[in-house]
């Protein structure tokens, strides 16, 4: 009996080994096996939450209750909600202005750091600091910098006799928007600068040397050599930068909570306020889902626009 069992087990083991050996040679099987962990990860932690969020946006779910399917009622409600539209305006303004500044200043910094400077490595490390500091910490620092009574900027300007009253950084709608954008720019520049610096270092020096021999000015070298070579990197870097900026939450939450009178509410902060603090999960999810078209547009623009070969070569459509 024991021998019979042992014999059967040995046969099965041999069969399994043989199957494994065949599978090990099968490219399709191996491909699927190697993809499986990544696929499970993506489905569990990215696709499922995203789909759940989309589903919630079509329900009247509240904290503690699953909710019923209500179609597009949340979106209809948001369509007539002035605070929602204000948050859309704020988010677009915040993203566009901050991204332009981050790109311009980041590129400028990258070009400087690409030159032969003394202590170049140290400067590069310093540039990264704002990116390394946790956002909440830098936001708290800005909170003090922008304080309506204790701002270091206001104090300095008052000491210099340039202003009489402290600047109302976060109390006035325009000032508040400019202030949170400035804080975001400060934090986002290192990412753009260091990424573009890496891109700049991939441009062969021989191209610049040839252009110089041909009599190209520094501007011409930048416009017709550096920029076209850098465009693919710019496309990727700015796509990420736009995504980070569009979905920003921490800076606003720490600095203003969306105030004054919702002047700095972004879609992300409004989504949290309505969904979690207000308990209206369905509506909060709808606001978050409403961000997707904007984000997709940014991605599509960058991938199908900025990477076009004609644009890279300085031409037009």
């Amino acid at each position: 009996m024991a021998e019979a069992i042992t014999g059967k087990t040995a046969t099965e083991t041999g069969g399994f080994r043989s199957w494994m050996a065949r599978a090990g040679q099968d490219v399709n099987f191996l491909g699927a096996a190697f993809l499986l962990p990544a696929a499970v990860f993506l489905i569990l932690f990215l696709s499922y939450p995203l789909l759940l969020g989309v589903w919630l946006s079509f329900t009247d779910a509240r904290i503690g209750s699953d909710g019923q399917f209500i179609g597009v009622e949340n979106y209809q409600s948001l369509w007539g909600d002035s605070v929602f539209w204000l948050s859309v305006f704020n988010t677009v303004l915040y993203t566009v202005v901050a991204s332009i500044f981050k790109f311009a200043l980041g590129l400028w910094l990258a070009l400087i750091l690409n030159e032969n400077l003394p202590f170049k490595a140290m400067f590069r490390a310093i540039v990264l600091l704002p990116w390394v500091v946790p956002t909440v910490l830098s936001a708290i620092a800005f909170w003090w910098i922008y304080d309506s009574q204790f701002s270091i900027i206001s104090w300095s300007l008052q000491q210099m006799g340039l202003i009489d009253q402290p600047i109302n950084f976060l109390g006035d709608a325009t000032n508040a928007r400019a202030s949170v954008i400035a804080a975001n720019v400060w934090r986002g520049i290192p990412f753009v600068a260091i990424s573009l610096l890496a891109g700049l270092q991939t441009i062969p020096p021989s191209l610049h040397e040839a252009a110089t021999l041909d009599g190209a000015t520094p501007w011409h070298r930048f416009r017709y050599v550096t920029l076209p070579m850098l465009t693919p990197i710019i496309a990727v870097v700015m796509t990420f930068s736009v995504l980070f900026t569009f979905t920003d939450f921490q800076l606003i939450y720490v600095l203003t909570r969306g105030g004054p009178v919702n002047a700095t509410h972004l879609m992300a902060t409004l989504s949290f306020q309505r969904g979690i603090s207000g308990g209206q999960l369905g509506e909060g999810a709808a606001i978050a889902v409403a961000m997707i078209p904007f984000l997709l547009s940014a991605i599509l623009f960058s991938y199908f626009g900025l990477q076009r070969r004609r644009w890279q070569q300085g031409g037009k459509d």
């Binding site: 309506s148 402290p166 109302n168 109390g171 909570r257 969306g258 004054p260």
Partner: protein
């Protein structure tokens, strides 16, 4: 986070008799003797997780932990206390409710319990017992913890709110005493501004201070968010009168109050930048404990907000309740713990140690000596008795919580006060926003 190890006497299955024996072993501590009368028998091997807000007054937390330790010593039930910044309690509790996991007991704010009543253990038996023994619950606080006839939580305390002002500056401005009505209050603010000691009341997205101030502005003039049936009535002549009042008051404030969050008014007051603000008693104790501001502390006086045309004191005040989630594995242990914490030896010590920051929920604790220990405490003493609930005069629930979370009243007052909108437009916009929430 605080962990309590199981030690001392283990009552567990031994019940009341062992409890008495244990109390004797520990020297006949009267608190422990009383605790032997626990109405609930903790489950075998029970342990609890409590999530509470980070303290504003150190003594509150210390005493809460000490009381908890006594409970652990008595019953052997381990209790882990986690604390979060007070504004983070709501999202944490909300997630726990939604996923059905996490802390057993949460100390929540305002109408949180009404957001997910189905997830909470019925506390009616314990609440009724405590009310019978300790003079009953204050109605305003009770409403936050009750749905119909059922207690979905236990009211714990009101965080009293009062106007804190610098007496010397008020006197220098020509006022021998703090004004009792809104008209006199406006005159005082104007006089303080003229003497370069402006007032400062929060108009930013500050959950506590801004809601307290802005609800007072609206209510004191007779405005209200909804009527008894939950119909939105905020766009009324009374509300517009309130907003006109805010518009007159605002120029007397220090610049920037529309950006203030909950901590800004404390900072400005303690730095001598403003002569007057509204806050919990923690502001006074912060000044008192710092030698650098001892002189300022001696100059602080407190008062309730003045009475407006409505003719009576109407203040929101923050309220806190203890919720017990249905996902708890040990409901009996949790109820035993809460009973223990509410019994006189523990609750009295906790109220005393909270230094007038936490106003009692049960009427018989009103005789706590803390209320007469310092004249500054007086306006905070009746917070539970006089508070007006959020979403007045409508029912507490998901709509009232959502309206507060959306800062509808705060934004309305801030818009009108700062001149961003006319009072009429601000009230109309608030009405539009409120109707979205109160639509169902």
């Amino acid at each position: 986070m605080t962990d309590f190890s199981r030690r001392g006497v283990l009552l567990g299955s031994a019940g009341i008799a062992a409890g008495l024996a244990g109390a004797k072993l520990l020297g006949g501590n009267p608190a422990l003797a009383q605790d032997a009368a626990l109405r609930y028998k903790p489950e075998e091997g029970a342990s609890l997780r409590v999530l509470r807000w980070a303290p504003f007054v150190k003594g509150d937390e210390d005493q809460w932990i000490a009381n908890t330790k006594k409970f652990t010593d008595l019953t052997g039930v381990q209790v882990r206390i986690d604390k979060e910044s007070w504004e983070d309690i709501r999202p944490k509790a909300a997630v726990a409710a939604n996923v059905g996991s996490g802390p057993d007991i949460v100390l929540v704010w305002f109408d949180d319990a009404h957001q997910y009543p189905d997830k909470l253990v019925d506390m009616t038996d314990l609440a009724t017992y405590l009310a019978g023994k300790y003079g009953g619950w204050y109605p305003g606080l009770e409403g936050y913890a009750k749905q119909g006839d059922k207690f979905i939580a236990l009211p714990l305390a009101t965080i009293g709110n009062a106007v804190c002002y610098r007496e010397s500056w008020v006197k220098a401005a020509g006022f021998s005493e703090f004004p009792k009505d809104t008209k006199g209050f406006l005159e005082l603010c104007k006089a303080l501004k003229a003497s370069n000691h402006p007032a400062g009341f929060t108009l930013g997205h500050a959950v506590g201070d801004a809601n307290n101030f802005c609800h007072w502005v609206m209510w004191s003039h007779g405005g209200q968010m909804v009527d008894e049936n939950g119909k939105v009535v905020i766009n009324s002549a009374e509300t517009i009168a309130a907003l006109n009042y805010a518009k007159e008051l605002y120029p007397t404030f220090i610049a920037g109050t529309e950006s203030w969050l909950d901590v800004n008014n404390n900072r400005a007051f303690l730095a001598g930048q403003v002569s007057m603000t509204a806050n919990g008693v923690s502001l006074y104790y912060t000044a008192k404990k710092d030698p650098a501001t001892a002189e300022l502390a001696a100059d602080i006086r407190s008062s309730n907000f003045p009475i407006g045309p409505v003719g009576k004191s109407v203040e929101l005040c923050q309220t806190t309740s203890c919720m017990l989630f249905k996902h708890t594995k040990y409901p009996e242990a949790a109820k035993a713990y809460l009973q223990f914490m509410y019994e006189r030896p523990q609750m009295s010590d906790w109220i005393t140690s909270s230094s007038a920051y936490c106003c009692q929920a049960l009427k018989s604790y009103a005789d706590n000596p803390i209320w007469t220990a310092d004249p500054i405490h007086a306006p905070y003493a009746k917070a539970s008795e006089t508070l007006r609930p959020n979403g007045y005069a409508g029912p507490l629930g998901q709509a009232s919580a959502a309206a507060m979370a959306d800062y509808i009243v705060v934004d309305m007052v801030a818009e009108a006060a700062t001149g961003q909108r006319s009072p009429e437009d601000a009230a109309a916009r608030a009405e539009q926003r409120a109707k979205r929430i109160y639509r169902s």
